[in-house]
């Protein structure tokens, strides 16, 4: 590859460079040096949670070893430093998704699920009333469905589900009508079952034209695609640390500052107040208003290290790698297993991420995963917290293989080897 050719566009570089240097990257993930059943680990479950690279583990340890103190109120040296690290993490995470006022617009939660609940509870209670419409899609994760069902049970709002088509994409042919009278549109940027990457920018425009705000569930997109909230045109974005190589115990809500400013508190307690009297309290400004109690400090430090790690590789490069590998996987599986393996979701391409759910003959997903485990292959069987989607697809469960920057063609080959064995074991089953 001629890197001196100055005329290459970013797209060229991605396509031309294709894969990342996986052998090198794998050394950053201590768990990949472990062996199970006397085999190397083939981790294909990054959609559930990603593996954790050394710099993130070390950042957390170092924080506890040298700095740990509670934030915001301390005057002494380590408390100042802990506060600085915590607020720096906020700004780093905000910039990572293109926030212009990260210090005000980024709220740390415990996971993406809490971020979505925060929107439903705080914004929802303040802005929705009986018969108001909230638009969801058939491919949402339970975390972007159940909070809205709870709200609909409480307030009597109407939920509308944008359907998916046969290819596993949203059928947006009459999205306009769906938005008619809607106050809010809640959509996943990337499906955790189908791998579909949804056209958020276009959907936001239509939603805004109808006066609806847009909640984007970025749990799957932020870890795997370059995400810029300005470009998405979204009003809210929720995602989780543990899916983007960061620690468990931390999630992120980004929201437009003006919207956040007008929202009432979510949980009450220390740190989210200006004043408390026995019968009333005065909430603090965002983001503090939404961070009751001691926040996930070490987790924020770890998440900042994860953002550094992802950025050192480059989200464009990561996407390029995963797109190539997804294309390879879909093609190989098709070639080697043919019609025995049914893969859900769109074909490889710009709107397809590295999440591959499949059924194989009529071997149950649980049994597939069990056999694959013996090959060191980690895939997830089940409904993937998307039961409405499962019903739509007409299955009780699927097996799901999902990739990240540490996966290679080798991993896909082992996956296929395992599937063939499952087929043999359950022949005529």
């Amino acid at each position: 590859m001629d890197m001196t050719d100055g005329a290459m566009t970013v797209d060229d570089v991605e396509v031309a460079s294709g894969y990342l240097d996986v052998e090198k990257l794998r050394r950053d993930f201590p768990i990949l040096a472990e062996r199970v059943h006397d085999r190397r680990i083939v981790y294909l479950d990054s959609a559930a949670t990603s593996l954790t690279p050394r710099p993130v583990i070390d950042a957390i340890s170092k924080y506890y070893e040298t700095t740990h103190a509670n934030v915001h109120r301390g005057v002494y040296a380590t408390a100042e430093e802990a506060t600085r690290l915590y607020e720096e993490a906020r700004i780093k995470v905000g910039r990572f998704i293109g926030a212009t006022r990260p210090g005000e617009e980024v709220v740390f939660t415990k996971n993406a699920t809490e971020a979505l609940n925060l929107i439903a509870s705080s914004w929802g209670h303040a802005n929705l009333k009986e018969n108001d419409v909230v638009v969801l899609t058939e491919m949402e994760h339970h975390s972007n469905i159940v909070p809205w069902i709870m709200l609909s049970e409480e307030l009597g709002i109407e939920l509308r589900y944008v359907p998916i088509d046969g290819s596993g994409r949203l059928d947006l042919s009459n999205f306009d009508e769906f938005c008619d009278g809607a106050k809010l549109v809640c959509v996943s940027a990337m499906s955790n079952v189908l791998g579909t990457i949804n056209p958020i920018t276009e959907m936001s425009k239509v939603a805004h034209d109808h006066g609806a705000l847009v909640v984007v569930d970025g749990a799957q997109s932020v870890p795997h695609l370059p995400v810029d909230i300005q470009e998405l045109g979204a009003d809210f974005l929720a995602f989780s640390g543990h899916k983007m190589m960061g620690p468990t115990g931390i999630g992120v809500l980004w929201a437009n500052a003006t919207i956040l400013e007008a929202m009432p508190p979510f949980l009450g307690g220390g740190g989210m107040i200006l004043d408390v009297k026995p019968e009333k309290f005065l909430p603090a400004d965002p983001p503090d208003r939404f961070e009751a109690g001691t926040p996930p400090i070490a987790e924020a430090v770890g998440l900042a290290a994860a953002v550094d790690y992802l950025q050192s590789i480059g989200m464009g490069q990561i996407r390029s790698h995963e797109r190539s590998l997804t294309a390879f996987a879909l093609e190989s599986i098709g070639e080697k297993l043919g019609d025995d393996c049914r893969i859900f979701g769109p074909p490889a391409g710009d709107d397809r991420g590295g999440v591959m759910s499949f059924s194989y003959r009529d071997v149950h997903a649980h049994d597939i995963a069990q056999v694959l485990d013996q090959y060191g292959v980690c895939v997830r069987p089940g409904h993937h917290c998307a039961k409405p989607l499962m019903r739509k697809l007409g299955v009780a469960a699927t097996a799901r293989a999902s990739i990240a920057l540490y996966n290679s063609e080798d991993d896909i080959n082992v996956l296929i080897e395992g599937l063939v064995e499952a087929g043999r074991l359950f022949a005529n089953a």
Binding site: M390, A396, F426, N428
Partner: protein, 164 residues
């Protein structure tokens, strides 16, 4: 793949491929219970008729993985025509087998919840009484699958409780 062969013994695959007592009995006279594994979406429907303190008929419906299907099929064969008391004993023995080995904490069931203390010594589980069911012993090495194996048994147990 030795572990795998222990899990998927031929007898299990056989019951999975050709489930016994498959279907649903008409309600009434039968009693109907549903079991549900929220983690994987497996569902079992147990319909049974108890006459003169005996499980005179039983049928199994629903969908699930090889372990849950085979366990249900094996269960139906084992309890059909047996006195309720004996069936209850079998349920206890089976559930003990499913909980003896797996928890480092000793007294937690498949959910990590605490259960009534069962036989502490695996030897105390009377495998003879289990007959073909002993084929499911391999499951305890796969803690996540224990829920699959016990799904139909929990439904049966609930059904007997409701009937008494």
């Amino acid at each position: 793949m030795a572990d795998l062969e222990e899990l998927y013994r031929e007898i299990i695959l056989d019951h999975y491929r050709s489930p016994r007592n498959r279907g649903e009995l008409p309600v009434p006279p039968a009693h109907r219970v549903e079991g549900f594994n929220p983690l994987c979406g497996d569902e079992v429907v147990v319909t049974l008729i108890v006459n003169d303190d005996t499980v005179s008929d039983i049928k199994i419906g629903g969908t699930g993985c090889s372990i849950s299907q085979a366990s249900a099929s094996l269960m139906s064969s084992a309890v059909k025509g047996k006195p309720v008391d004996e069936v209850r004993g079998l349920i206890h023995t089976f559930k003990s087998m499913m909980s003896v080995h797996q928890s480092t904490l000793g007294d937690a069931d498949e959910d990590g919840r605490q259960i009534e203390p069962g036989p502490e010594d695996p030897e105390l589980v009377d495998s003879d009484a289990l007959g073909e069911l002993a084929a499911l012993q391999g499951v305890v090495k796969f803690p996540v699958r224990i829920k699959c194996a016990t799904l139909s048994w929990n439904a049966l147990s609930q059904g007997l409780d409701e009937l008494s």
